[in-house]
């Protein structure tokens, strides 16, 4: 899955959506930004700084955090520990060999869990969570790193309708109360148009259009290639 000629700009405090048919290269784009993949050419800038080719943990240190499309958490650990690891890492405590983790940063972890509404399930095993809760935990782990810029890869994929609503609420909340800059991709057009400030449309690895919801909706190319196209997968 290749990405070429993709061009994306996100302003501080914005919620930006990336949409496009399956295989358009959305996840690849995120992987390029977060350092999981290294671009052959092209650059990634964050707050004016070139972060191209940095390894994921360094990208994270700059203040970028992300969630994954397929739930990607620490399966053997409890919900609380999942988030705590992220918080520990954020506070540069991973090289502490002495203090028991159990005594560290419980409050901050607790706060993040309650902010996403998982506080009551904090001692459960990941595998006991519903799919929706796992997706939320996915976001909570990303929040543990206290990012300025949060990337969400299909946050509502596979969720039941009421869970989706909760998730939309959560994302809005994050943007409003924490002032996070959010970049996400999504197949649920309702969600995309309801919360995004701007939208980027991708197809076959390149940027088709970038603009406000209105602009995108009106754009002929988008309508041809995507919204009206047959290859749109309603998942």
């Amino acid at each position: 899955m290749a990405v070429n000629r993709a061009n994306l700009e996100v302003e501080k405090g914005e919620i930006v959506a990336v949409i496009g048919p399956n295989g358009a290269g959305k996840t690849t784009l995120f992987n390029l930004i977060t350092g999981i993949l290294k671009p052959d050419e092209g650059r990634v800038f964050f707050k004016g700084e070139d972060i191209t080719g940095l390894s994921p943990h360094n990208v994270c240190r700059k203040g970028i955090s992300r969630s994954f499309q397929v739930v990607n958490v620490f399966e053997r650990l409890s919900v609380f520990e999942n988030v705590r690891i992220a918080v520990l890492s954020k506070n540069r405590m991973c090289w502490n060999f002495i203090t028991p983790s159990a005594k560290l940063l419980g409050d901050e972890t607790e706060r993040i869990l309650s902010s996403v509404g998982l506080a009551d399930k904090k001692d459960s095993a990941c595998s006991d969570l519903s799919h929706g809760d796992r997706k939320v935990l996915e976001i909570a782990v990303a929040l543990g790193a206290s990012p300025e810029f949060l990337i969400l890869d299909e946050p509502t994929a596979g969720m039941a309708p009421e869970e989706t609503d909760r998730c939309i609420e959560l994302i809005r909340n994050l943007s409003d109360t924490l002032g996070l800059t959010i970049l996400f991709c999504e197949h649920d057009m309702g969600l995309v148009f309801s919360i995004s400030d701007r939208i980027m449309v991708m197809a076959r690895g390149s940027t088709l259009v970038q603009g406000t919801c209105e602009e995108v909706r009106r754009n002929q190319a988008v309508q041809d290639a995507y919204l009206g196209g047959d290859d749109y997968d309603v998942s």
Partner: protein, 318 residues
């Protein structure tokens, strides 16, 4: 509630230690020796488990560090006049250094590739030990290594082994429970995600490998104290697999699992072989049963049964 259990745990811990300290008073010499041996292998298996059970690393050739630790101590004791305690530490340090050097090369690789590259590198070390007659004694090994009088008797070496093992277990436990250990477990469960929350996965693993190598080296040096002998088989890959099996049988997601596994394997091989020459068969069948019915090992199984239902799932996972 937490406070209550922790004081109880401390109480149990003290009781266990007391029992171990009193054992030589009423156990025949052979059992004292056997328990020393179990402690040595237990420490070896626990040190492997730092990276295996908690780090998810396919450390296929952990015994290289054990053997190098033992050889370093043995060589210092036989060829130099360095005080015992320094010779002892030299083993652990040599193992840690080797672990670091091998780690730099292997840590880039994942899973099976990591394991096999480690076996190749380890086999090179083994070949050197096996071949360098003038220095390492070749395949005959070094025997009758002089150990200070006070710890060379069965009881003496037992107490020394017990003390060192307890200290090491305590340290390993601290490390596992520290943020470093938490991050390590995060890496085990999900290396990509760990990188994405700001953990430097490779460096973290490298440090974990060095720690595991260090304690493996301590186990090797302890073996010298207990048996006063070293030989190249200590670095051969078959022994590494056996230590692997100790972790598995005991349960590699339980802290004391490898310890229990080591005790069981040593007991099996000591006592079954008294009855039959086909004890590899017995051993193999026991392993097949454990793999089939107790995928989390014996201790893992017991813990699972002891835990309340909602926590069970956590253990069953994976």
């Amino acid at each position: 509630m937490r406070k209550g259990t922790s004081t109880r745990n401390i109480g149990i811990g003290i009781a266990v230690v007391a029992v171990f300290f009193l054992l030589p008073a009423f156990l025949p010499r052979f059992y004292v020796y056997l328990i020393s041996l179990m402690l040595v292998y237990g420490l070896l298996a626990t040190s492997l488990n730092i990276v295996l059970g908690y780090g998810g690393v396919f450390q296929f050739h952990h015994c290289v560090f054990y053997g190098v630790g033992a050889y370093a101590t043995a060589l210092f004791l036989t060829k130099t006049g360095v005080p015992f305690i320094l010779s002892f530490l030299a083993g652990a340090v040599a193992a840690a250094v080797l672990s670091f050097l091998m780690g730099i090369i292997t840590v880039r690789l994942s899973k099976l590739y990591f394991g096999m590259l480690q076996i190749s590198l380890g086999s090179l070390v083994w070949a050197i030990v096996y071949r360098w007659y003038s220095f390492t004694g070749g395949d005959d090994g070094i025997h009758g290594i002089p150990v200070p009088e006070i710890i060379s008797s069965y009881n003496g070496s037992y107490y020394f082994t017990l003390a060192v093992t307890l200290i090491c277990l305590f340290l390993i436990y601290k490390i596992i429970k520290s943020p470093f250990g938490s991050a390590l477990q995060g890496i085990r469960d999900n290396p990509v995600r760990s990188g994405m929350i700001g953990i430097n996965v490779k460096r973290h693993l490298l440090v974990a490998l060095v720690i595991a190598g260090f304690f493996g080296g301590v186990a090797g040096s302890l073996f010298v104290v207990v048996d006063k002998t070293v030989f190249p088989d200590m670095l051969f890959w078959t022994l590494s697999l056996e230590v692997f099996i100790m972790c598995l049988i005991g349960g590699w997601f339980s802290f004391f699992g490898p310890m229990v596994g080591a005790a069981i394997v040593i007991a099996l091989r000591t006592f079954v072989s008294g009855y039959t020459v086909y004890w590899a068969l017995v051993y193999g069948i026991v392993m097949v049963f454990v793999i089939f019915f107790l995928p989390n090992g014996i201790l893992g199984f017991l813990e699972q049964r002891a835990k309340p239902a909602d926590e069970k799932k956590l253990i069953e996972k994976g």
